[in-house]
Symmetry: C2
């Protein structure tokens, strides 16, 4: 039988060629200790659930500007409303920023070990990029970002390493990149870093991106935001209104406002996580793990003798999910989210058993 296929013209030929991002597993079984996607182990503020009762008019379109939410966020930070852009999680915000600002044709610079969505967005929008190698201790060197480029982006603290860049280093990178956009992706900043937000009045090319998914315990609501001068925010809104006018649904607007207004609850859970992290890092050290000091809600650690992949798989069998990246330079590391004290104690117990059986 002749099975040769004749190549026909087809809609298939014009499909955009992408390599999608792979999100961490969301196991559906019960009794799992889930330390693989950097979620907050504590529920959101009780005021968020209370606010749910004030959701109304679902039949109507939400406010396309999500003004109640952007006003709550901007007033929390002492910014003007036109200095804040909101989106469906910080991934939406970052995707819109890539599409809005990285159009020079020159390569965008970011670290070689970093949030693994950056090269995905670059691929999707056909933006050239160059990665800059972190040093052996997973440090970012400002000097690597001095050359001519189409923009700069890095997370601070970096992901998945957890390492923090001091504000003076961020400023140094900004000083050497006044004519391109510099995005500081601060998804984890609330767990111990100093935000670059304070530099916004000085640098009109600085965009600071944060999220509700980590420190505000609301990954399920999908809220992220960018802060920057109003020209940047207007440019992002123009692109957003060219893609989807109504991105923030009514529950996100109503509950998102309530969440940022409960400062006391925020501080309490944030401190709990920081304390647990410090204790857990000490335990890891005693067990023979190496890691950069984390200022995030996770630790990126490598054991002196047991391969990370082995630990990852053994943990999974015990229903403990951590994150493992099968990538060059980091394939012997585990990224472990900081859970409750109980969860971390269970993990430590498991590790002790693995390491000193």
């Amino acid at each position: 039988m002749n099975t040769r296929r004749i190549k026909m013209k087809s809609w298939r030929d014009n499909i955009r060629n992408v390599v999608p991002y792979t999100p961490g597993e969301q196991p559906k079984e019960d009794g799992v200790i889930k330390l693989n996607t950097n979620e907050n182990p504590y529920p959101p503020s009780p005021k968020v659930l209370e606010a749910m009762n004030h959701i109304k008019h679902l039949r109507k379109y939400p406010d396309p500007a999500a003004a109640d939410l952007t006003e709550a966020i901007s007033s929390y930070y002492g910014l003007n409303r036109d200095e804040v852009f909101v989106g469906v999680g910080s991934d939406d915000v970052l995707a819109i920023a890539f599409l809005t600002f990285f159009n020079s044709g020159k390569p965008v610079f970011f670290p070689d070990i970093t949030y693994s969505f950056y090269d995905v967005w670059a691929g999707l929008f056909q933006i050239p990029y160059e990665t800059k190698a972190l040093d052996e201790e997973f440090g970012i060197h400002a000097g690597d970002y001095y050359g001519e480029n189409g923009g700069v982006i890095f997370p601070n603290p970096n992901a998945p390493t957890g390492a923090l860049l001091e504000l003076e280093t961020v400023r140094d990178i900004l000083d050497h990149n006044r004519d391109v956009l510099v995005i500081v992706d601060e998804a984890y900043i609330d767990f111990g870093g100093e935000s670059a937000r304070s530099l916004i009045p000085e640098y009109d090319n600085l965009l600071v991106v944060q999220t509700y998914s980590k420190s505000r315990s609301l990954a399920g609501l999908r809220i992220g935001y960018a802060m920057g001068n109003k020209e940047l925010i207007k440019a992002m809104n123009d692109v957003k209104y060219s893609f989807n006018s109504y991105t923030m649904n009514e529950p996100a607007i109503v509950m998102g406002k309530a969440a940022i207004e409960d400062e006391k609850y925020f501080q309490k859970t944030r401190e709990k996580i920081i304390n647990t992290r410090e204790w857990f890092q000490e335990e890891l050290r005693n067990l023979g793990f190496a890691f950069a000091d984390s200022k995030a809600n996770f630790v990126f650690a490598s054991h002196e003798s047991i391969p990370a992949k082995e630990l990852f798989e053994a943990a999974k069998r015990e229903k403990i999910y951590v994150r493992y990246f099968d990538k060059p330079r980091i394939d012997n590391y585990l990224r472990i989210t900081i859970g409750t004290d109980d969860e971390m104690q269970t993990l430590v117990k498991f590790l002790k058993k693995q390491i000193r059986p």
Copy 2:
């Protein structure tokens, strides 16, 4: 004083050049009769609000595949789960479809009078396009879509005209475009048209897009979906996972599932709107308005003597909001959403006063 400015290199030079879509006004004052954005005048099914009590785990990321929702939608239509794509309103779904499929460099075809977001997406993603003129009665002619192109998209019923294309004409367009993607945008199909969904098994290049914002009274929740063969849906998911993994928040997944499961409520409100529309069209006819017979939840009407803009502004002064497009060929038309019987009676009373003072 020398005020010449020296042109510097700037991040501003690389901002994406767009002409954003302008959504209809969302007036914030009370006591407004809002007939300008084709929302459903009836609230969503009571089961949607009940479902709100089952929202949990907001601290965790939602299921990136939104499986509970896509399963509910696919089983409602008798499709497989991998034949349905969900997004943040049908605008999100359509934007992703443009980005996924319209990459041939050849012009995409759509009507000259149509949903005004199509040329915005084409502009955003730098997709060439050609518009095909509707006839004097606002009809689409299949023959206009036979030529070589990079894809075809049209709403059915068309917006803002409300005119329906018979399924045989849709089939004719598909038959002449087997090697490109054809998108039938069925935002209003539930108000009296026959969906092209039944053609999916025959045409692997057909994508049918629908929404919760009109017939399911849930514009505030932001849910749209595409139906097509699994290869198309996979291609869209790949692009979605390259843009934002978690687009559907937990409230949208939980409430969206509840909404599509309440068939009885859906049929009841749908029929009410159809009945109101038929009565209202009769009233408009008696008042000297001309319009294509509408199969949507709006009527696109022009008066024989009073300019549309004048009526639009007079109505607004009475807190009755309808939609007016200041565009060639349609600048003497009003797009009037079908509200409750009471709302439409108030509008008719107002129109009578304007027309025969």
